[in-house]
């Protein structure tokens, strides 16, 4: 597996640097092992898709990068996870600071029950920015980046719940962007959206990938094929622990997979 993860580095441009890296990462919920020995490099300013059948631990793996699994009692991570070479599970790491750098968008759009403006301003406010003019700037910039500004600029004071599902999800992306993260984790961000809204989010991801590192979990293989640069295929072993089967440039993984199990999955033979 280590061999696989080095593979794409050869095929990517030389300038590509590794943003996030996991080395031999395992995750346990109490006695149950949910992930086994995953080693993977996430390149900077690219979209990495994590694909695999339901229950293989994709979301669990994603939540390793912003330590969201910390919230689950009994969850324990082994191995090494690095953000720009820094071990994010080190004792000295401030999880709050980490999550400012590694933002997350969830499966179901989860805007707060506040106005559109306050949703986007939420993060900056919590980080001590209270100047109304400054906030307005951040909100506009973030909404523009999330390709939502033109649709909501006249209803910033309206409830976020008045927006459509796709708009809500882009609002959630804007909410993350307002904190100026380096990495954006997306946990099946389109699974609750219709095809049109899905394509909008994918377009948006492509634009954002120019400045952000994006990791997206998806069970939609077309989406991975369309929207990602790198794909990592996770699978459940017989003891239900997730393992990394294969990882590489998306075009390669989808056209000439190295592992038989990857081939079976992407050709729709199971999962």
């Amino acid at each position: 597996m280590t061999a696989d993860s080095t593979l794409y580095r050869n095929s990517m441009p030389e300038s590509t640097t590794t943003k996030l890296r996991t080395e031999g990462v395992s995750l346990y919920y109490g006695a149950f092992q949910a992930l086994r020995n995953i080693t993977l490099d996430i390149p900077e300013r690219a979209i990495t898709a994590i694909i695999g059948p339901s229950g293989c631990g994709k979301s669990t793996f994603l939540r390793i990068f912003n330590r969201m699994n910390d919230l689950i009692p009994g969850a324990r991570v082994e191995g090494n996870v690095q953000l720009e070479g820094v071990d994010i599970y080190d004792r000295c790491i401030d999880v709050v600071e980490l999550r400012k750098r590694v933002g997350m968008v969830f499966q179901k759009p989860n805007p707060f029950p506040m106005s559109v403006f306050e949703n986007v301003a939420f993060g900056p406010r919590r980080h001590g920015r209270n100047n109304r003019g400054e906030l307005a700037e951040i909100v506009e910039k973030s909404l523009r980046q999330a390709a939502l500004w033109d649709e909501v600029k006249d209803k910033l004071d309206k409830s976020a719940f008045d927006l459509s599902g796709g708009q809500q999800q882009r609002l959630c992306i804007a909410r993350v962007l307002a904190v100026e993260p380096q990495v954006i984790l997306m946990d099946e961000p389109c699974s609750a959206l219709d095809p049109v809204a899905t394509l909008k989010i994918e377009d948006l991801m492509r634009q954002l990938a120019e400045s952000y590192t994006i990791i997206i979990v998806t069970h939609n293989m077309q989406q991975a094929a369309r929207a990602s640069d790198i794909s990592a295929f996770l699978l459940m072993e017989p003891d239900r622990a997730g393992v990394l089967v294969e990882c590489g440039p998306t075009s390669q993984l989808f056209t000439s997979p190295k592992d038989k199990r990857t081939e079976d999955y992407i050709t729709g033979r199971f999962g």
Binding site: R99, M104, F106, P113, G123
Partner: protein, 286 residues
Amino acid sequence: MRIKSGLSRQLSQRTAFGVLLVATVAVVLVTLFIIIRIAISGAGALSWTFLTQSPTDAGRAGGIFPAIVGTFYLMLGTLILALPIGVLAGIYLSEYAPKNWLTRVINLAIINLAGVPSIVFGLFGLGVFVLMLKFGMSLLAASLTLACQALAMTITTSREALLAVPREYREGSLAIGATKWQTIRHVILPQARPGIITGAVLAMSRAAGESAPILIVGAAFLIPGLPQSPFDRFMALPYHLYTVATQVPGMPGDTKWAVALVLLAVVLSFNVLATIVRLRARRRRV
């Protein structure tokens, strides 16, 4: 055969609907009957004098103003003492307490606290607040006693309201680098506020209606004036109702109904107020 089974299903559907409707109508009718009965019998004795004057002739004449004020003081005292502690304890129990056997025991104890008969709280208040802390028979001792009783409800409803806030909101907030306390303060508490308010008002209404515990920690049968300090004794509507209904010979027949009507109005108006606050909170939210 298909059609037959369909019919029997329809029948059970209709039966269920009918039973549910009858039960609902019964509840409404009983409530209406109580209110109308009290209103009809009490309305005659209700007057401006009755509401604004002190009782004379052992309550046979005059009004019930001190009892109304005493009940308001009690509700206010209970709220001030029980709400902050209830909310803080609720936050601790729902957000911070480790999920272990001790927390479970504490939660169970709080739920059981709600089931303790009110007279037992009264006795506790007499022992602790009146005698041990030397507050005497007083408004303060009574408020503290009722607050202890109300805590069970304010803690439980606060905890439930906080736990009911969807996980998505917590995660959404934490995922953009808000601290746990910021998440609680700015996302979870505003969401839980209507539930917390409901619990607080129900606890207050209950405090307003209690007669057994205050009887032994400070309520007085007859006091001409209003309490001047928290250490004074006081009159309260439920206890006054008890005395005018059973303890004074020669009481005009409609006086007790009028007292009941006022007590009912006080409690109901607070419930209406709570509903308005709750609806407003909800409208702001959505």
